[in-house]
């Protein structure tokens, strides 16, 4: 094929799939983009892409978890002492709140999958966001309390226990890990706002719900990070 560089590239005859994009008589979903064969392939590509992104997110949080392991290995008793100052019940309630939000998220995807009304879809999405805000509210209260008693690392860090240095390391990691997680919650709520608006505009149906599905993957991932943060930060050592 001679390429002149003039931009006039005429591809040779290509195999036209009946009902596919080459077929002039094809009736396809308006959301099917021209470089995909069908809706299933388009959905698979998006979902896989989201999973590749989530793997990078695993490594992103993984760095913090690695730091946590190294410093906890260096001062196990100090971490135990520092962890006891966290409110175990607020942490457990927040875990439950996020699990509830994951349930409503899964039901929101299902509502789109099963062609349910936009009211049902939007309802589940709004409840999911509401749980997200609830989580952030409880987290904000916990942060406020830590500032109040002086457990924030830095020049004003106050610790009357046996291991002030390790406790400061623990709270550095606590704020970094929960802070990055809270940032992900805020991003998640922003994504859900967009998805909710699009759902209200009747964008999603049984044929095309990939954006809800992919946003849901992100939401569930953030839930999983908290599932690990809760025991690692709140439940170290004896609470007996």
């Amino acid at each position: 094929m001679p390429t002149s560089g003039s931009g006039d590239y005429h591809p040779g005859p290509v195999a036209i799939q009946p009902g596919g994009h080459g077929d002039p008589h094809a009736v396809h979903h308006p959301k099917l983009q021209h470089h995909f064969d069908d809706m299933a392939q388009q959905a698979e590509a998006s979902t896989l892409g989201m999973w590749v992104f989530l793997v990078t997110e695993i490594m992103f949080f993984g760095g913090l978890f690695m730091a946590y392991i190294v410093y906890r290995y260096a001062s196990p008793l100090g971490f135990e002492e520092a962890s006891h100052e966290l409110n175990l019940y607020l942490g457990a309630i927040n875990t439950a709140v996020l699990i509830c939000s994951s349930l409503t998220m899964a039901l929101a995807v299902r509502a789109a999958q099963t062609n349910q009304s936009r009211g049902t879809q939007v309802g589940f999405l709004l409840v999911t966001m509401l749980f997200g805000f609830g989580f952030l509210g409880i987290k904000a209260y916990e942060y406020w309390e830590k500032f109040h008693v002086g457990h924030v690392p830095g020049p004003y860090f106050v610790w009357d226990g046996q291991y002030p240095h390790a406790a400061e390391q623990f709270y550095s990691l606590y704020f970094a890990m929960t802070g990055l997680h809270a940032l992900h919650m805020i991003v998640g709520i922003s994504i859900m706002t967009y998805i909710t608006i699009m759902a209200w505009r009747r964008t999603y149906d049984a044929e095309y719900y990939t954006p809800v599905e992919v946003a849901g993957l992100y939401w569930h991932f953030v839930d999983i990070v908290w599932i690990f943060l809760f025991p690692l930060l709140y439940l170290i050592g004896g609470h007996y």
Binding site: M39, A40, A43, E44, T47, L48, W51, V52, L54, V55, I58, M59, G62, F65, M66, I69, V70, Y73, A74, L88, A92, T95, A96, I99, C100, S102, L103, M105, A106, L107, R110, Q113, T114, A206, E207, Y208, Y209, E213, G216, L217, H220, F221, D223, I224, I227, F228, F230, P231, L235, I236, G237, G238, H239, Y240
Partner: protein, 99 residues
């Protein structure tokens, strides 16, 4: 489309299991099991995460390629943890090396 529609009841069951797991973690933290406490709470967390990944994130019904991507993420995370800790935990084993 190819997406698998899971029955609502399955989602409620997974939800109940996750809440039970959270409850169990808190209960286990209240019982003195020595170093087994850490193992127990991490085992419960891994079980909960697996339930979320398999059912809420639909990996159970996803393509083989998705499985490979998910597993490789976890695998590389474990490589990072094990290689880093094999360094930190073995420091000072050889006389004269830095502890």
């Amino acid at each position: 489309m190819s997406g698998h529609v899971a029955p609502k009841g399955l989602y409620y069951t997974i939800f109940a299991a996750l809440i039970f797991g959270t409850f169990l973690t808190v209960v286990v933290a209240k019982i003195d099991l020595g170093s087994f406490n850490n193992i127990a709470m991490l085992a419960i967390a891994c079980a909960k995460a697996s339930l979320v990944v398999l059912f809420f994130m639909h990996v159970k019904w996803s393509s083989r390629l998705t499985w490979v991507v998910v597993c490789s993420g976890v695998f590389w995370l474990l490589i990072m943890f094990s290689l880093t800790m094999s360094d930190y935990m073995s420091r000072g084993w050889v006389p004269g090396t830095w502890k």
